[in-house]
């Protein structure tokens, strides 16, 4: 039994390490120079551990077989040996110094965020990511797009179950991109294994990290810091594209943003606002206030049949624009645009039997935000 065990452990470790690449048992090598360096460090320290392990467990299991009381083994008398003890303190120190040197070099490289070609702000929010291309006037939210029916087992699960979003982060390859990372509420952590970037997004702080992606592709990751109920449901998708493709994409996004901005000044119909508001509600609000606005008291109040909300439009708008300090309700003034806020306010006032008939205009919201 014991011999089986002695054989099994290293074998399955080694087997795991070798097949790793193909079937996702090991750390991915990734698509940046740094991810390759990190993979190299990981494998080196792993083999160092395997070697020490074979030595130590080798001696141990040898002793367990060889010196058995039942076979009449007599115990030796020795109980210390200074030079051996010094040696097995010193040798590990040397091995560790040998590990520390390349690790230090990699770490220095990871910390060098200077001279970036593009700055992207990454903002963690319960429970989505917001990306802002600094200096480009392009910004959007990225929500998980896996439908809840799949999570509940009411629909077949897709290939990228839980790792798919409505709007991926699009980045050009071969350019140094600096990430500026922060959070609007609790701490999150933006992690894409293939890029070897994992960095906490912390309210009140701006962390920096960077990537330079070598290969185009779609890279998926997840939030890595517990951030509340839907922590498991805030994936990250990075779409790495050729540089010219990126420029085209960016230009399109800019134009779309201008279109949306023009929408602020015109008069919107109730139906239009409802149609625009529903997806916003589902993507942003429903995770706390629930699909039918029923809420989850005491943390998350109900919106459906909420008398105060129905009676006082200004109060209602203020909650959304400015948030409620000291609670989980964030301010949406900078994460949603006036059209979206107007639409979602209209939606909550008219859905689920509210029927106030209020069609809140984006222009009035824009005024409130300026104040």
């Amino acid at each position: 039994m014991r011999s089986l065990w002695q054989w099994l452990l290293p074998t399955c470790v080694i087997a795991g390490a070798n097949q790793a690449q193909a079937n996702g048992w090991n750390m991915p090598v990734g698509v940046t120079d740094i991810s390759r360096d990190i993979y190299g460090l990981h494998m080196t320290i792993f083999w160092v551990c395997v070697a020490i392990g074979l030595l130590v467990f080798g001696v141990m299991f040898y002793s367990l077989f060889r010196y058995r009381h039942s076979k009449g083994a007599k115990a030796a008398e020795f109980h210390e040996h200074t030079s051996v003890e010094v040696l097995w303190t010193a040798i590990p120190v040397l091995i560790l110094v040998g590990m520390a040197v390349p690790a230090t070099a990699t770490l220095k490289n990871m910390y060098d965020t200077s001279e970036a070609d593009l700055d992207v702000m990454i903002i963690g929010q319960q429970w989505r990511w917001r990306y802002e291309y600094l200096g480009e006037d392009v910004a959007f939210n990225s929500n998980m797009s896996t439908p809840w029916e799949q999570i509940r087992g009411e629909a077949a699960r897709g290939e990228h179950y839980l790792l798919e979003v409505d709007e991926p982060l699009v980045l050009p390859i071969n350019r140094k991109i600096r990430f500026l990372m922060t959070s609007d509420d609790v701490i999150h952590s933006w992690w894409v294994p293939d890029l070897a970037v994992k960095q906490d997004t912390i309210p009140g702080f701006i962390n920096e990290n960077w990537v330079q992606i070598n290969e185009p592709g779609i890279y998926r990751g997840q939030c890595a810091e517990l951030c509340g109920v839907n922590h498991g449901f805030m994936p990250i998708v990075v779409h790495a594209v050729e540089e010219d493709e990126f420029e085209i994409w960016l230009a399109e996004r800019k134009e779309a943003a201008e279109q949306e901005a023009m929408g602020v000044d015109r008069e919107w119909e109730l139906d239009e606002l409802m149609a625009r508001g529903e997806p916003v509600y589902r993507a942003i609000c429903a995770s706390c206030h629930q699909a039918e606005g029923q809420g989850a008291p005491p943390a998350f109040p109900a919106l459906a049949n909420n008398a105060q909300l129905i009676d006082d439009l200004d109060w209602h708008i203020d909650r959304i624009v400015n948030g409620v300090s000291g609670t989980a309700m964030p301010a949406f003034r900078s994460t949603l645009n006036p059209v979206e806020i107007a639409a979602v306010v209209t939606y909550t006032r008219n859905a689920w039997g509210g029927d106030t008939g209020d069609a809140v205009q984006p222009a009035s919201i824009a005024e409130k935000i300026v104040q």
């Binding site: 039994m1 996702g24 090991n26 750390m27 360096d37 990190i38 460090l41 990981h42 551990c49 020490i52 392990g53 001696v59 141990m60 002793s63 367990l64 010196y67 009381h69 083994a73 007599k74 115990a75 030796a76 020795f78 210390e80 040996h81 003890e85 097995w88 303190t89 120190v93 520390a100 690790a103 230090t104 770490l107 910390y111 999570i151 087992g153 179950y161 839980l162 609790v186 701490i187 952590s189 070897a196 994992k198 906490d200 912390i202 309210p203 009140g204 962390n207 920096e208 990751g221 890595a224 810091e225 517990l226 509340g228 109920v229 922590h231 498991g232 449901f233 005491p298 943390a299 300090s325």
Partner: protein, 547 residues
């Protein structure tokens, strides 16, 4: 230095000690029934209370873990909601750390330290009673938060702010109170242990004659006294943020969420050593006993323990490699963490060398101690990997970390506790534990533990974050195996309870010296140890550790 004393066989004192004990006991009528346990100041009874308490909590924490593993058995949400899932992971961690592992070690300390140093009791018996009875209060309170509106703590056992302050459920104030009470209990217990060890050793027993369990506990007690107040401080700051409008950790009010993590881990890292140093002590007693050979490198074991304890104050930010520390800090904490692996390695080498050319037999305590050496070392290896800061950017907050700390805590700390229980049960009950059942418990536990935690390494490396109630499809196989292993391990622990119950009720009679190769003073008193022992101090005879 005390003069060298004439050699004298320890068994001689024990008879007198025991006789004294019984005579004395007859003098005063002690309270009966429940009051006996509520009011007891006897170190053995309090030790038993601690151990029973921790066993109950081990099962409660275990059930929470099984709820988590059941949900993770396959992708999708089947059994529980994410909100409750978070409460289960949090409660599992809190209960296992503060209510199962720590009290188990304190229970062993209560029972064994006076016996190992030849003291009649703990130095501060009434305080001892108080320390224990704080625990049921603290954890009843903590468990009751699960039934409060908004549910119990759901922010992980590390309760990072602001998730645990601004965004926390209303019950968090009770969570803080519970942790305060548990913290007071730990500090008082630790003070008692320090006082006992420093003042009440048998005449002639120098510090360097103390069994390693005593040494490791002495150092652990100092760690507790140093860091529990930091925990108390940080939860008080949370309390103020939640209830009194301060903004220690609230960025909107000018506070600093990262400060929380620094304070927490300044407590938290020494805390993980609090959970493993006494385990080192137990294993260092058991391996020489069943190898029938003196512990190799007694002095270096003591120095290594002290080195680990000192270094443990300098490594806390290795839990924070991805929070955005300055480069210099990252490097410092990487180097110091790598360094802490050295004294840990020394200990493993010493145990293995103790086995080398011994005369080895495989009684149940030895089985668990040997499994400890192998599996704890595997946990140490993954710790070494985690210490490499650049690589930790990939490992951090994944199942790889979960695998790491479960290897050091389950087949580490908990196996050592079980080894200790099997080792000392004959002393406590006067009977040997049922050998076949104990072996069965051992093999089931070994299989269960590895089935549960080994695949977690792969899941983590492949990219599965921790603390998620549902996962992408490529992690399904790992999780399936883990969940099966967890249920197998959990159910196997019922055998442990069975063995203990059978052993208390009867079994093969154990002599005073229950194990042939055992050396320390506890084996000089009869089995079962009478309620009062060493009322006249034994004369310590120095056959073992020092020279």
């Amino acid at each position: 230095m005390a003069p060298k004393l004439p050699p004298q066989h320890p068994l001689q004192h024990s008879t007198t000690a025991a006789a004294d004990g019984q005579a004395d006991h007859a003098h005063h009528a002690s309270p009966k029934g429940i009051m006996r346990w509520l009011l007891t100041t006897n170190h053995k009874e309090i030790g038993s209370l601690y151990l029973i308490f921790s066993l109950i909590m081990f099962f409660i924490g275990g059930i929470f873990a099984l709820v988590v593993r059941a949900e993770l058995f396959q992708p999708g949400l089947q059994l529980i909601e994410p909100e409750f899932f978070n409460q289960m992971t949090t409660m599992h961690g809190l209960i296992m750390v503060f209510a199962a592992v720590m009290p188990a070690f304190t229970g062993l300390a209560n029972w064994m330290i006076p016996l190992q140093i030849g003291a009649p009791d703990m130095a501060l018996p009434r305080l001892n009673n108080f320390s224990f009875w704080l625990l049921p209060v603290a954890f009843t309170l903590l468990l009751s938060t699960l039934f409060m509106p908004g549910g119990g703590p759901n922010f992980g056992w590390t309760f990072y702010a602001p998730l645990s302050t601004t965004y926390a459920p209303p019950s968090t104030t009770f969570f803080i109170l519970a942790l305060h009470i548990a913290g007071v209990s730990s500090i008082l217990g630790a003070i008692n242990i320090v006082a006992t060890i420093l003042n009440m050793r048998a005449p002639g027993m120098r510090m360097m004659d103390m069994p390693l369990f005593v040494w490791t506990w002495l150092i652990t007690a100092f760690l507790l006294i140093a860091v529990m107040p930091v925990l108390a401080g940080v939860i008080t700051m949370m309390l103020m943020d939640i209830n009194f409008g301060t903004s220690f950790f609230d960025a909107a009010g000018g506070g600093d969420p990262v400060l929380f993590q620094h304070l927490f881990w300044f407590f938290g890292h020494p805390e993980v050593y609090i959970m493993i140093l006494p385990a080192f002590g137990i294993v260092s007693a058991i391996i020489p006993t069943f190898a029938r050979k003196r512990l190799f490198g007694y002095a270096s074991m003591v120095y290594a323990t002290a080195a680990i304890a000192l270094l443990s104050f300098l490594v806390w930010a290795h839990h924070m490699f991805v929070v955005g520390l300055p480069l210099a800090a990252e490097l410092f904490f990487m180097y110091s963490t790598m360094l802490i692996a050295v004294p840990t390695g020394v200990k493993v080498f010493n145990w293995v060398t103790t086995l080398f050319r011994g005369s080895i037999s495989f009684e149940p305590p030895m089985l668990f101690a040997l499994a400890f050496v192998v599996l704890f070392t595997i946990g140490g290896f993954s710790g070494l990997m985690l210490a490499i800061a650049p690589a930790d950017f990939q490992y951090h907050d994944t199942y790889f970390v979960v695998a790491h700390f479960h290897y050091v805590l389950v087949p580490g700390a908990i196996f050592a506790i079980m080894a200790g229980v099997y080792y000392w049960l004959p002393k406590w009950t006067g009977h040997y534990p049922h050998e076949r059942l104990a072996q069965c418990h051992f093999w089931c536990s070994i299989v269960g533990v590895n089935l549960t935690f080994f695949p977690m390494h792969f899941a983590g490396l492949a990219g599965m974050p921790r603390r998620i109630p549902d996962y992408a499809l490529q992690f399904a196989d790992f999780n399936l195996v883990s969940s099966i292993g967890a249920f197998f391990f959990g159910i196997s622990q019922l055998i442990f309870v069975l063995v203990i119950v059978l052993c208390v009720r009867g079994g093969r009679k154990a002599p005073a010296q229950a194990w042939e190769g055992a050396e320390d003073l506890e084996w000089s008193v009869p089995s079962p140890a009478p309620l009062h022992t060493f009322e006249t101090p034994p004369v310590f005879h120095r056959s073992h550790h020092g020279d």
